[in-house]
């Protein structure tokens, strides 16, 4: 304020218009700088006040029995179960491999793409993880930890995401893929071993999670506000809930899906 009165006194003591214009320009720039600083402060407060959404996915009903996989001799030695894993369910109905994400409430907001790649590994002639998420344009790294070759074949269905099919020798360098558009459950497969799949949901924001074997999940760092959260399981279907995330702490969102 002192600067303002000094500048005003200085200007008013002059007798041409230019210094007056300069004065206002200078003050506006100062105000603008203060405004920018304020906006940054608000943004940082928002991050500080971000909350989490936690919850559990429960499966109602009895899922159909898993199918046998006709593994070939090479994979037969290393495949852990030789069964499909369409429903991974705990004794209390805890449902794994459900993709939970913010479906609505983030419109118009953009988020930086993580520099760290999202890793999928091929272990025992299976993709791990089976269900996961990555941001659009984030690197997806595919590793082959098996002692035999695989072909890595992502098959997107959304225009703008490109299909690829690349051979990967045992223990070779990780392959890199990126996808520009949002796409639920983008499928990675191996055609050499036609039971091998991984499903990566491509999102425009980082607020997603996959339920673990205990059925729980946690979406972290979500700015305070109202959101629609969806839980989507490839076979058991999907369900949405509305949540209001507090400025700090966490909000619980539980889902019950039905076996088909």
């Amino acid at each position: 304020m002192k600067n303002f009165t000094n500048n005003l006194r200085l200007i008013l003591s002059g007798d041409n218009l230019l210094p007056i214009l300069n004065f206002f320009t200078l003050e506006i720039m100062k105000l603008n700088r203060r405004f920018m600083a304020f906006a940054a402060l608000v943004a940082s407060l928002q991050l500080v006040s971000a909350g989490d959404v936690t919850g559990k996915i429960t499966l109602k009903g009895t899922p159909p029995p898993e199918k046998d996989i006709p593994v070939d001799p090479a994979c037969g030695k290393i495949h852990p179960t030789k069964k499909t894993r369409l429903y991974v369910v705990g004794s209390g109905g805890e449902l794994a491999d459900t993709f939970i994400y913010v479906k609505d409430g983030l419109t118009g907001k953009t988020f930086p793409v993580p520099e760290k790649g999202h890793l999928i590994d091929q272990v025992g002639c299976e993709y791990t993880p089976y269900v996961s998420g990555a941001m659009a344009n984030q690197k997806i790294l595919v590793r082959n930890s098996d002692p035999l070759l695989h072909n890595v074949h992502p098959i997107p269905t959304v225009a703008g995401n490109k299909e690829a099919n690349i051979a990967q020798m045992p223990k070779s360098k990780d392959l890199e893929f990126t996808f520009a558009k949002e796409e639920p459950f983008l499928r990675f497969k191996c055609d050499v071993h036609p039971w091998m799949f991984s499903y990566v949901s491509i999102m425009n924001h980082p607020f997603y999670a996959t339920s673990g074997k205990d059925g729980t999940f946690k979406i972290t760092g979500l700015p305070a506000g109202k959101y629609t959260i969806e839980a989507n399981h490839r076979k058991a279907g999907k369900q949405t809930v509305e949540v209001e995330v507090p400025e700090s702490g966490s909000k619980e969102a539980n889902f019950t899906l039905e076996a088909k």
Binding site: A167, V192, P194, K260
Partner: protein, 351 residues
């Protein structure tokens, strides 16, 4: 070398090429039945190796996908080689100009076919695969027709002075059925290459109905209920319609060939070769229909689905050659009740 219309060695080689082509179609069927079309991601190399230098250990022991796809490439190369020999041999030795040109067309077709197979792999296009599979059937028909034209049977048919006055609808029905089979094979190829063979998982009903619903809610529910280690793409309304069209076309073919069998007996006597062959064709189509149903009942077991492809190819060739083979007899037809006059009982004319 003097040109001739009768070269037993060339005729035998043409039969051999036709059989090789049939074998190739069967191996191709195994590739799609096992979902192995993309198991070798590069072309014309195989995992970076020259196709013919791909190590045995990797071919045989890495996984079924590579085994089927690489085998298909090797058999295709062999058929390409045989077709080239056949075309050159025909050009040098065959007197009939049109037949020499059929050899050239076969050569061009096999080259184009190989290119399509490669592009299917490198461009990731199901549409190319569908065209590749349909052209394979037509190529088999072409090579089988060449073999037929080189055969002693064809010479006898064309040299014979007699004729058969078939029922007026018999040969048009033969032709219509053969054309319908081509359409049916194209539909089948579309289903195979979209992995939509199980878009309708029950038979004879479809999702328990005569015609299944295809609204989004129904499709979502149906896709969730699909449990298979191959985890096929979600089915679409279009794929259900495609599947149902395949079934309807199968019914139409069955009826049409049944009609052919009846009509063949109206002109020729019941024991004539043409009537027997038409009845055999009807039997082949019945087998094909059974295999189609069993493909659904067996949850698209690879060997059954492949047998369905193979018998489909045989049905097309059988019917088409029957149509071609009856052409000289029909062309000379002047009188009714011709069989006894033109083809003696037990004649091997078409056998």
């Amino acid at each position: 070398m003097a040109r001739t219309t009768r070269n037993p060695a060339l005729a035998a080689f043409a039969v051999f090429t036709a059989i090789s082509t049939f074998f190739l179609i069967t191996v191709g069927g195994l590739v799609t039945s096992h979902g192995a079309g993309m198991a070798v991601p590069d072309w014309p190399t195989t995992y970076g190796y020259n196709m013919f230098a791909f190590p045995f250990s990797m071919w045989l022991f890495t996984g079924d996908g590579i085994f089927f796809e690489h085998s298909h490439r090797l058999v295709a190369s062999a058929v390409g080689f045989f077709t080239t020999i056949l075309a050159v041999w025909l050009w040098i030795n065959e007197e009939r100009r049109w037949l020499r040109w059929l050899g050239v067309i076969a050569f061009l077709a096999v080259c184009f076919q190989g290119l399509l197979g490669g592009l299917r792999v490198t461009l990731y296009k199901d549409e190319i695969g569908i065209f590749h599979a349909t052209l394979a059937q037509l190529f088999f028909l072409l090579v089988a027709a060449i073999a037929f034209f080189l055969s002693k049977t064809w010479q006898r048919l064309t040299a014979r002075s007699g004729s058969i006055e078939f029922h007026r609808y018999f040969r048009p029905a033969l032709l219509s059925a053969s054309v319908l089979i081509i359409l049916q094979l194209a539909l089948g190829a579309s289903m195979r290459h979209q992995h939509a063979g199980l878009a309708v998982p029950d038979f004879p009903l479809a999702y328990g109905k005569v015609w299944p619903p295809t609204d989004p809610a129904f499709l979502e529910e149906a896709n969730r209920k699909r449990h298979d280690h191959r985890d096929f793409h979600p089915i679409t309304a279009g794929q259900i319609h495609l599947h149902m069209t395949h079934r309807l076309t199968a019914c139409a073919i069955l009826l049409l060939i049944g009609a052919c069998a009846v009509l063949s007996r109206k002109a020729a006597n019941a024991n004539s070769t043409v009537a027997k062959l038409t009845a055999a064709w009807f039997g082949l189509i019945l087998l094909q229909a059974l295999l189609g149903a069993y493909t659904v009942w067996s949850n698209k077991a690879a060997d059954i689905a492949t047998a369905h492809v193979a018998v489909g190819a045989l049905s097309l060739v059988f019917g088409s050659l029957l149509y071609i083979g009856t052409a000289p007899l029909a062309a000379r037809a002047t009188v009714r009740d011709p069989i006894a006059a033109s083809i003696p009982e037990g004649s091997p004319a078409l056998g």
